[in-house]
């Protein structure tokens, strides 16, 4: 607790502008892995959180819905400057890349019918889909020895890929089942 206060002791000096520009930097550097840059800026460059606090915050964000990296942004902003700090940090993270991306993307998509653009987009989306599958499978590696985890992952995959069930229904069905299974297996192991 003491450690936290020491780190937070210069809270007043952090300006909203500094929050905005720091997360702008994270987002612009964040090609293919924003988390690496968030840690580098928040922990090493700005020293707004120490390593442990950053990891704890990430854990919290992983428990919550939404993109974890945006969650880190909200938490750092909230820690330093409360609600306005969170808004400034998120604005820094989203505003510039969103505006540029939307304008540039709309231009490309306007010409999506062109045969050449169509071919490039076809190749890109095939690769991008593969990256998403690969990312998912990588997340499974730490759980590969737990048969309950593999079973639940397979159920979730089949439910979303092959049935037209809405996600809220799948989550409501599988989340309690998965948590209960995890609890049962652990109780047995004890």
């Amino acid at each position: 607790m003491l450690r936290r206060r020491e780190i937070g002791s210069h809270d007043e000096q952090v300006t909203l502008g500094a929050l905005f520009t720091s997360f702008l930097k994270v987002t612009l550097c964040g090609f293919g892995g924003g988390l690496i840059w968030a840690r580098s800026v928040v922990v090493e460059q700005r020293r707004w959180m120490d390593e442990l606090e950053f990891t704890e915050t990430l854990t919290l964000c992983q428990l919550m819905p939404g993109p974890n990296i945006v969650g880190i942004t909200v938490c750092v902003g909230a820690k330093l400057r409360g609600a306005v700090g969170a808004v400034a940090a998120v604005a820094g993270f989203i505003l510039v890349p969103w505006t540029v991306g939307l304008a540039f993307g709309a231009l490309v998509l306007d010409h999506a019918e062109l045969a050449a653009v169509q071919k490039i987009l076809g190749g890109l989306s095939a690769a991008a889909a593969g990256l998403l599958i690969g990312t998912g499978l990588r997340l499974l590696i730490p759980h590969r020895t737990r048969w309950t985890a593999l079973l639940v992952a397979a159920f979730a995959f089949v439910a979303m890929a092959f049935t037209r069930l809405p996600l809220p229904l799948v989550l409501l069905g599988l989340a309690p089942l998965s948590i209960a299974l995890t609890g049962l297996v652990r109780a047995k192991a004890r």
């Binding site: 993109p67 987009l121 989306s125 990256l131 690969g134 730490p142 985890a149 890929a161």
Partner: protein
């Protein structure tokens, strides 16, 4: 449905999905796909194109992809509404969760819930990729590219941007 009614319907749907997008927005992609194609707003081809373009942009890819859908349906207003629906609810949840963090930090049930939810997230992310691959597929060659991307993602520490660039180049050369 006129444009603004459609934009509102899309934003409302996205707001619900983003509020339950445990493990990130890619987990809800299959649901978004079903929703927009059931309404006849986007073809599979367009959905795959939007995904491809958003993936090569830096920053928040999924917010951008949802904004492309909003832009198609309701112009700039639709794009802004979709963006807010995608990041607004999670940000609000993150903010209040952070305020409560100290209170539920060390509770034993937290670990159990985390371990229980993790594989579910994995299954949903993989399903998201599978649905995208199916939407993007134009034959065995594109399937091969997807499989190669999976392999490179798992087996190497290559920057994903190179893999995307290779996919785009192969497509541009007419090999897919």
């Amino acid at each position: 449905m006129n444009d603004s009614a459609a934009s509102v319907a899309l934003a409302a749907h996205l707001a619900v999905l983003s509020s339950i997008s445990f493990g990130g927005f890619p987990t809800v992609l299959p649901d978004v796909h079903d929703f927009v194609s059931a309404n006849g707003w986007l073809t599979d081809r367009q959905f795959a194109d939007y995904f491809a373009v958003s993936q090569v942009a830096p920053g928040p890819n999924m917010i951008l992809m949802m904004s492309f859908i909003g832009l198609k349906i309701g112009g700039i207003a639709g794009a802004v509404a979709s963006a807010f629906a995608t990041f607004g609810p999670p940000c609000t949840i993150y903010y209040f969760a952070y305020r409560l963090w100290d209170r539920f930090r060390d509770m034993p049930w937290q670990r159990l819930v985390r371990r229980g939810l993790a594989p579910l997230t994995v299954g949903l992310v993989v399903a998201g990729g599978f649905v995208m691959a199916r939407a993007a597929s134009s034959g065995w060659a594109s399937g091969l590219v997807t499989a190669a991307a999976v392999g490179l993602m798992l087996g190497t520490r290559l920057n994903p941007l190179w893999i995307l660039a290779a996919g785009g180049a192969l497509g541009g050369l007419g090999l897919i």
